[in-house]
Symmetry: D2
Subunit: 181 residues, 4 copies
């Protein structure tokens, strides 16, 4: 997922070697969030998508908020930390009252097992839709945060640009929220 | 539910006679909301409970936000309208991104069919947990809005005071939100 | 929804006149079910779609299991009754352990308010995905029950044939179940 | 959780040393299942609870179906494997159509952080309610599988016996299923 390109504030907590070793042993738990602007009735108006450049290949791709749950960290803490890491400290995300995700996303290293894949690891992500009410200022390694309407989001070219097959997560988020155009 | 004691702003849309007749024919659709104060992580700190006096018997009872979905009205519109009716215009409720309720509550006129009952009608309610961020000013027919912690809420005397057996809905709301003490 | 074309076993419980009158006063509560064949892991293999001819226009359309919740009837009873009405007595549906639907569908008489509409009424449906394990024998007024894979289901011509815009419910069901191809 | 006392069929896939090391680095992903007998309407009649003796202390405790998700294994595969491991090959569990759990359980090594704890590790479990339709034959290391009604389950002595604080998961499962007595 995105931790290579969006380093944790305290990246030293697990060395790269230890992390690689761990990744070969167990599925790694992630939290992911689809940021949304909602109206007074709670309906999605726009969804935020991050544009990023790969440090190694220079390729651009789109993604959502994503990051590991650290040892000893609660799911809620991980969700808030990663939202702040990717959207900045003034996004004011409204975390869900229940920790039940709208879907569980499974990424396998081999493409094709599921529509989702992550070449680095077997990852399992709890995925949330999170309304944000403040100003989003993505970190410098994210080139841009784009707000798209549900109709714009379902444009095949946008879906195809989503890293690791996450276009499917966007479709699931919109379907769950009753916001399929 | 509460529509007798908390009249709609436009009560004339269905006469009492027409409403009584309709109530004998089909289940009546309601929306209900458990108002909550949540922290930055989305966790419930307090739940709002309304204290009301019955116009006919003078008895006091506790309840949550509750009201009918009107003909032609969307579920979200009904939810916002009833939140404003019971909590006032400055409560700033955060309506859920998905219209899926945390539970479906079924009230039968005869007590004992389910833990919930409503002597006036067969009612089916979509029940939501709704964080509120503003000032709540319940209407005059509500004597009081009390904010209780999850532990205070589960006090048997509080649960027993909940109108129509709604103590069970409070337990379900806390269980769903992972806030059982 | 489907009650005109698939009469209830005891249609006399509410006269046509009383029903029409009621429909003009309150939203009518429905249950709907997307029947599915699932594998040992619970994954959707096929979804059942009903083909029906309209008594009045003779037009063919596709739909899912659908019917009203009657006065005094529980949501679970209504769900089982309508599954048996549309799929026959040997379908052996596996009703969900929780009465929470995967979505709430809102049908308005005027097309265009939501993607769903029902010219007869304002209806609100609790929609479930229900695995069936037995033999399905749709009643005579249903011409056919077709089992389609998720990929076949998402064919635009199939989605467009779904009565009242229910193609969207099928997409939501697949998204929720993680079965979008 | 239960992997010490209920060894995997292929326990060699991760050595004890490697597992201990991994447990100190990342949260470990589990699946857990509350087995249930349901009636034709899907309502819970009884819940299955496993009685186990600790290999090290000899103490008896109660638990639910629980086990790790292995590297490369899907959540559904892990769920089915652990159900078969704990309930035997003829339990015929009905896995859920959606992989969304009814709750996410977080176990910390230190007691008191949440109501749940696991002295061996930081574990995060996706928890499902799974109806079983066949004969359950728990493995020999489980002394007994007891079927309890919701009322029996909520007996404080039963809840207190649940390993790692899982009494709370049982309450959440019943609340979610609308089966609180």
């Amino acid at each position: 997922m995105s931790s290579v390109r969006t380093p944790d504030p305290n990246p030293g907590w697990l060395s790269d070697i230890a992390l690689d070793e761990t990744r070969s042993r167990v599925p790694i738990l992630y939290v992911e969030a689809v940021p949304a602007r909602v109206d007074a009735l709670g309906q999605i108006e726009q969804v935020g998508v991050l544009l990023r450049g790969s440090a190694t290949t220079g390729e651009l791709s789109r993604t959502i908020v994503s990051g590991r749950v650290m040892h000893g960290e609660s799911v809620r803490d991980a969700l808030l930390r990663n939202l702040e890491k990717d959207l900045g400290p003034t996004a004011f995300p409204q975390l869900p009252a229940a920790v039940v995700p709208f879907t569980v996303a499974e990424y396998f290293p081999l493409p094709g097992v599921t529509p989702l894949h992550d070449p680095r690891q077997h990852a399992v992500a709890l995925v949330y839709l999170v309304p944000v009410t403040g100003e989003c200022n993505p970190r410098q390694d994210a080139l841009e945060l784009t707000w798209l309407t549900p109709a714009e989001l379902l444009d095949p070219s946008v879906l195809a640009d989503m890293e690791g097959g996450r276009g499917q997560l966007l479709k699931q988020a919109l379907a769950w929220a009753g916001a399929l155009p």
